[in-house]
């Protein structure tokens, strides 16, 4: 269902009311009459499109496409679960935090991404103490990656707000989204793109692991397996990790992760995922997480 300018006329009345606020102080009520200004937009929308193409060479365009907005946010994944009728509580399936002591930076990055995802997944049905522990573990991962004082300070503030009750479980996901933006920006700038992307990959692996596990147990609608069937995201992360400095240096953990990702890529070639495929994905992602 499309809801762009084409549905603009339907929202004219509301837009008109809001327009008064948006333009407050810029003119008299008569000058910003609700019925007048919105009427300009549909007229604009009917102007000939500067770009009328309706088809794109997907493979070619994708190959040169930017990936800054490619990977879904961890909390976005959580909302998608509800949309796919996956009601199984995930909070008690998150597992213990992995070890980052003595691990290579790529593995610390993967584990940190997993920890950030765990905060969001725990926030749905976890106790305050459990969520707090997950938040502090995520901060420890960020500190180990050298995320910088600004991001660590913001993380501390979020932890303090949550601890004080200023932010509850319902407000935590959007707050984490904003923090995640800052984390990605800071890591890209400081630790580098490789670390920032691996943090994303760690969160994605954790999400896929939990979902494939509960789906293989029969949870969710018949369309739910599509949530873990993301060959393009898998391919993106796999190629990225294969080209990472740690892979080139033969890091034992990273090489093992690549073996599991390659096995998942074979499964992802299928049109749809059967129950045995979901079990296999859960096993491979579990093996990846076991390296942390």
């Amino acid at each position: 269902m499309l809801l762009s300018r084409s549905t603009w006329a339907a929202s004219t009345a509301l837009a008109s009311l809001l327009l008064l606020n948006a333009c407050g102080g810029s003119g008299t009520p008569e000058e910003t009459a609700p019925a007048e200004q919105p009427a300009e937009k549909p007229a604009e929308a009917e102007a000939p499109a500067a770009d009328a193409s309706t088809k794109i060479d997907f493979a070619a365009a994708s190959s040169r496409g930017k990936t800054a907005m490619f990977v879904p946010a961890p909390s976005e994944f959580q909302i998608a679960l509800a949309a796919a009728e996956v009601t199984t509580p995930l909070g008690d399936r998150l597992g213990t935090e992995g070890n980052i002591e003595g691990k290579s930076k790529p593995v610390v990055a993967l584990e940190t991404g997993r920890r950030i995802a765990n905060v969001l997944l725990a926030s749905k049905d976890g106790t305050k103490d459990a969520v707090l522990a997950r938040m502090k573990a995520a901060k420890a991962g960020l500190a180990a990656l050298g995320a910088g004082e600004s991001v660590l300070g913001e993380t501390d503030k979020l932890i303090a707000d949550y601890e004080a009750g200023t932010i509850g479980n319902a407000e935590l996901p959007p707050s984490m989204d904003l923090l995640n933006q800052k984390v990605q920006k800071a890591l890209n700038k400081g630790a580098g793109e490789e670390v920032a992307t691996l943090v994303q990959a760690g969160g994605w692996v954790q999400g896929v692991h939990l979902l494939s596990t509960v789906l293989s147990e029969g949870a969710g609608s018949k369309e739910a397996p599509a949530l873990v069937h993301q060959p393009s995201v898998l391919g993106y992360f796999t190629e990225f990790i294969k080209n990472s400095s740690a892979a080139k240096a033969g890091d034992e953990d990273v090489v093992a992760v690549i073996v599991e990702l390659d096995a998942m890529s074979e499964i992802a070639k299928k049109e749809t995922l059967a129950n045995e495929d979901l079990k296999a994905v859960a096993k491979h992602t579990g093996n990846i997480i076991a390296r942390f």
């Binding site: 997907f58 365009a61 496409g65 930017k66 393009s232």
Partner: protein
Amino acid sequence: MTRTTLLAALSALLFGLGTAFVPTTAQADPAKAETCLDELISAAVIGNGNRLRAKDSDAAADKEEVVYRVTLYKGMTYLLLGCADGEGVDLDLSLFDDAGELVDRDASPDAQPFVSVEPAKTGEYLLRVMVHKASAKTDFAVAVAYKD
């Protein structure tokens, strides 16, 4: 918050921005594009209980395009939005599915386009950002947000 209300709020804000900016010719000003987008995100996305996945900024000359890969989940409602650095610029957004077919576009001749979509299936889509009516390289900022 319904989708209609979200779009209404966004539309209203776009008008607000339109009236606030003095029309200018296109020129490289990444800070202006990012500030414009941040205002949209604060008021029409975060302020309406929606969430931000990510944002990015780039630049393109007249009739040049920049393509973004985006993964979208079926069952979600997404808002893709952008801002260019000058009101004289026409910034267009087009969303294509993995068959290369157009899903939706905002080709209205302004600098703050938006597209709202409920994907028919989970997978990779392409968001094409195209600059028109620019006399010089134009900076723009784009974002992907989703409904809570």
